[in-house]
Symmetry: C2
Subunit: 353 residues, 2 copies
DNA sequence: ATTAAAATCGGTAACGTACACGAATTTATA
DNA sequence: TATAAATTCGTGTACGTTACCGATTTTAAT
């Protein structure tokens, strides 16, 4: 460890150069009133000249404030454990920045109950937070909520899915079209030209269904772009229920015995896997998300590929984006599309969600 | 922004509870002499009781020291641009922690010149650094170097490849065996039982060759574990030279026309791709590393899959591990095996190395 | 010209921690 | 018991910044 040598740095140096007190420099830096136009200009010039970078340690230490963020994401349910990873990402981010007086409070809503979304959203707006991270599962409600945030000048970050034309501080999540496109590309290696393929959408909520459609578009887009002749079937299952999914899948495979690949457009792929295992089918199964229930089937190679986009990392980055913006006053990327990861039996052990 | 309320925190609070001055508390915290056994014990008890977490802002601000790290990695050469990503990762880490008075200095060696490694290593040891990040390309030399580090009590982190039985602060890099294993798993989806497969090792230096062998072991391990009957050929090319590689590959494919997949065990896959493109072959090509020269072929689907392990991220994490250990005094994972990423044409755009 | 009001600025106490200096206390030595 | 030596501890200053208080200067009003 070396000792630092030069004496005058930061505001003190600026003050020295401008022949004013550090109090005045501080006023200029924070655009406060009480400085004549001349000295203000002079100080600003010096700041530019010496390329002054404020010392964040001193800054955070002196400004004895607590920055508070709120998160609004679905609760972990019996239906899916998907939202466990984002929560862990949030916690990881918080424990990294809590030393800088940042606190994060989490609010959870029920993915099958839009009222619960509104209720939690109102709770958030009552207490004044400095930034909000949310998964805009319900489109209308999210627009409403974020509009109110905008009026209150509270920055918000979307994760997991975006709301077009609703400008946010940042979106961090998948490019849904591309993830479908990738699935198709992968499948193109697995089937012959004459094999049949099926898309399986499983969703109860209309909202989430939109996301699935984007993936489906990407999926079909690939086949179109590459003039592939494969026949593509599709079924929509609107109940998340073992027996229903079993029946529908079984019907599908009976009607089209030449189906070689099933592409399930979300994390519900384990339900299909469950049936395939029972029936002893050797259809290739591709689905989404690194969930416990899916990994089991991945290890058995009932599910052959999982497409994942690190939901935990998304939430982590989301909190960090708020931190960068609110605390460090740094610019933040408007869109961060997560890499599309391909997980199979032999690379899942080192994967971190 | 909320203001913080409670007055007594940190050392002050401890001092209050122990009825001593903060100076004494400070001495206990830093295991300095000059404290009676009684009060020391008392203070330590209080520290435990209130679960005292030192404020890093105050700590870093007060300790007016500069922590200096050195890195020792191969230089970017004409032969490969592989080491550009790690360098960027190092820079990214540095710019994140430079606010905490951390500086990083980079030293580069020539991968084909073990003397250059020794020369740079000596430079590093002359100036006393607080931590070292290195890619131990030359095994003997690295052991020698790290032994000297240990004597000087300088912690070091390995990236990219490990040296077994040379205990380091941390290793961050691939699990080579598994990456080969994964490649085989992937290939198992792409070939029929009777198709032939070939492994292509391209390496000039004996050292690097060991890494390739680990991958090859993993690769063959998969076929053995799953009782797959595919014939596996193998060639070693000890010159990194377009025409040599062209000739060797061409011979291989002529001798075994039933080869369906080529597995190149490192980033030199672009040389093979170059030949395949010329010859118009439609053999499936799998290789390593997200390099510019490879991505071009990936887009053309001459290279079909690239296996990547985020070398940039490795270096970033390596510097961060040193930071955590040296500055924050936090525990550090001994081994961090990077995820094994599968990159193809349609997911490379969002990939970050 | 006098006084009041407004604008401009300097000085300084914090924030939580590190570290040096010297004061107070205890122990050892004669 | 007196004195020296050693031990134990408190105080003060510093790190770079924020934010407030009050002093000084300028401008406005009479």
């Amino acid at each position: 460890m070396k000792k630092k040598e030069n004496q005058f740095t930061g505001v003190k140096e600026i003050a020295r150069l401008a022949k004013v007190s550090i109090g005045t420099v501080d006023r200029v830096i924070h655009n406060r009133t009480g400085v004549s136009a001349k000295t203000r200009e002079l100080i600003n010039q010096i700041i530019k000249d010496i390329n002054y970078q404020p010392n964040l340690l001193g800054r955070r230490l002196a400004s004895n404030k607590i920055t508070q963020f709120a998160t609004l994401i679905p609760m972990v349910s019996k239906e899916t454990t998907f939202w466990r990873a984002p929560l862990e990402g949030i916690d990881r981010a918080e424990s990294e920045i809590k030393q800088y007086n940042v606190k994060v409070e989490n609010f959870f809503f029920d993915q099958n109950d839009r009222d619960s979304f509104n209720k939690e959203a109102n709770k958030i707006l009552k207490k004044k937070y400095d930034g909000i991270l949310l998964a805009p599962s319900f489109i209308e409600e999210s627009i409403n909520f974020t509009n109110r945030c905008k009026k209150l000048n509270i920055p918000y970050v979307f994760i997991d899915s975006d709301i077009p034309d609703q400008p946010s501080l940042s979106y961090i999540g998948p490019d849904l079209y591309h993830s479908g496109y990738l699935a198709a590309n992968l499948i193109s290696y697995l089937v012959g030209k004459r094999d049949r393929i099926a898309i399986v959408n499983i969703s109860r909520q209309m909202e989430n269904y939109h996301h699935l459609l984007r993936k489906e578009e990407g999926f079909r887009g690939y086949f179109k772009d590459h003039n592939l002749p494969n026949k593509i079937e599709k079924i929509d299952i609107r109940k998340i229920n073992t027996s229903v999914i079993k029946k529908e899948t079984s019907n599908l495979l009976k009607n089209f015995p030449d189906i070689k690949v099933l592409f399930v457009t979300n994390s519900k792929v384990s339900f299909v896997a469950n049936y395939l295992k029972e029936s002893g089918s050797d259809v290739v199964l591709i689905g989404y998300d690194f969930l416990k229930e899916n990994i089991g089937f991945l290890e058995e190679e009932i599910i052959n590929f999982l497409i994942c986009q690190k939901p935990g990392e998304q939430a982590y980055k989301g909190i960090m984006a708020l931190y960068k913006h609110c605390v460090l006053k740094l610019p933040v990327d408007e869109n961060t599309f997560m890499p599309v990861d391909i997980i199979m039996k032999s690379n899942h052990i080192y994967y971190s969600n």
